[in-house]
């Protein structure tokens, strides 16, 4: 029987709710994004205030535009973690209240699993090597033995943090990914920057420091943005290639906010081609944080009987992807 799940995302800067049906139709996906002041980073408490103010209207919009009534919902899913404590709690409270008031199960979802599963739904990927690149994550992932396994990751900053901290140093407001991509597209002058791949892992901290120093020394923002992108994306493509060669899988999928970057997906396609693998990118609207990733994973988890009693529906600020069982792929 067809089931319908509403999902609530509030792990970081985005508060979003979405209604998704068990045949994979996304019926609504409104969001409210907290914008940090120019030059400043995300402030967890202020972001949570944004979410608190936005929650009622985002939730009612998600329901209204889906054309689905409260009584049609089979479950309420929420992002239990990982993420920023104050932000996570807003989503958890909203989901708990909704689930209790309509009397349906509450389904906990891991945010990173959400990115991956929504990506698979939208791109049609069956068994991909996944590159998850966002503000919160930089990981190379593949499914094996009931779990999504981490094959490589950043040892320090995430790719999103690298771009944001670089942009903020220049006075941009985060998230700065789009502005950096735009500036980078106006240069083709490569300035040498540190390239740090350690086995299957990458490290971005030296790259960030060197890029800031170049700006401080008077290099043009376009040139440094271009060089930063070329260097960091090449690092990520290289470790993804190692994972692809190692696992022998035939699909590579990019998900997470940075997946929106065209140069990154172009590089991944060229890399995949060497291995006769398919490169897949999640459509822009769904690559960043959104309710649909939680709602769709909620559909899958609910179908496997995963739920949490309201009394135990806490949040988990650091909840590693590779400890979550994925029975629906078993």
């Amino acid at each position: 029987m067809k089931s319908i799940v509403i999902g609530v995302e509030s792990t970081a800067h985005t508060f979003s709710a979405s209604v998704v049906s068990s045949d994979g139709e996304i019926l609504s996906n409104p969001k409210s994004v907290y914008k940090a002041p120019p030059g400043g980073g995300i402030h967890p408490f202020e972001a949570s205030q944004n979410h608190l103010a936005a929650a009622p209207s985002v939730l009612s919009e998600a329901l209204r535009s889906s054309g689905v009534g409260l009584s049609d919902l089979s479950a309420v899913a929420y992002a239990m973690g990982p993420g920023l404590g104050p932000c996570l709690r807003v989503g958890a409270v909203a989901a708990r209240t909704l689930a209790a008031s309509i009397g349906v199960p509450l389904v906990p979802v891991n945010h990173a699993v959400g990115h991956i599963e929504l990506g698979c739904l939208l791109t049609g990927a069956k068994d991909p090597v996944v590159l998850l690149v966002s503000g919160g994550h930089t990981m190379i992932i593949a499914y094996s033995g009931l779990r999504w396994r981490i094959l490589g990751e950043s040892l320090d900053l995430t790719l999103g943090q690298l771009l944001d901290q670089f942009g903020r140093h220049h006075g941009l407001a985060s998230p700065c990914g789009r502005a950096i991509e735009e500036s980078a597209s106006r240069s083709n002058h490569y300035l040498r920057l540190p390239y740090s791949v350690k086995g299957n892992d990458v490290s971005f901290s030296g790259l960030l420091t060197a890029s800031k120093s170049l700006l401080d020394a008077g290099a043009s923002f376009e040139d440094v943005a271009y060089s930063l992108q070329e260097t960091s994306f090449s690092m990520v493509a290289e470790v993804t290639e190692r994972a692809l060669a190692f696992t022998g899988k035939k699909e590579v999928m990019i998900v997470g906010g940075v997946a929106a970057n065209k140069r990154l997906s172009q590089m991944m396609s060229a890399m995949a081609e060497r291995h006769a693998a398919k490169a897949l990118s999640v459509p822009l609207e769904y690559s960043g944080d959104c309710g649909a990733q939680i709602a769709w994973t909620g559909v899958l988890a609910h179908g496997s009987g995963i739920e949490v009693p309201v009394a135990e529906s806490t949040v988990r600020q650091s909840w590693r992807l590779d400890v979550v069982d994925i029975p629906w792929r078993g």
Binding site: E153, F246, T247
Partner: protein
Amino acid sequence: MTSPGEAEWVPGRLLYRGAEADVVLGDWQGLPAVFKVRKPLTYRLASLDQEIRRQRTVHEAEMIRHAKRAGVATPFLYHLDLQASTMVMEYIGGKMLRDLAGHMAEKDVEGPFFKFGEGVARLHAAGMMHGDLTTANVVSREGSLVFLDFGLAHRTSRLEDHAVDLRLIKETLVGAHPGISRAALDAFFRGYEAKAGTPRFRRVRSQLRNIERRGRYARVA
């Protein structure tokens, strides 16, 4: 991939094609040689790509020399062609430990895996990690072990890094040689302990347990 020792040495024969390098048999001034060629990765900017391949070639050669100085058997380096990111080295005629292990009974593992452990302990004591310790990167020649593939090696004395080396060995044994993995790992650890000394061995092994508990480095088979 073919085991180097099993097939005869035929110049020009491709031995191995990896994500990063081609390994080709060749002739170097009359000596049977192996050419490890780091191929261009076309998705990278050409200038960046060229520089990385050059650096890695230099780095691998340095690491091989360092290992040799530490008393670990490695191929002799004949030549470095930085323009072509190519390392020319001695051809090691022997059998990959991976292929040997494939035919081993439990009672045969003691010798080679004890030596494997000793060799790794020597590398670690010399302040380096290998970084890619699979049974495909060790060749048995006339009863002694030769270590190959120092592309991911680096200078480090950190406990964590040394434990990561052991972690990969354990994963490889369990994943690729499940029938003998327990005995092989036991022998490996005894060899390691014999060279590294009991206190250091205990510390590295407890760090290995920490890594395993963190759930990182999970293998996808």
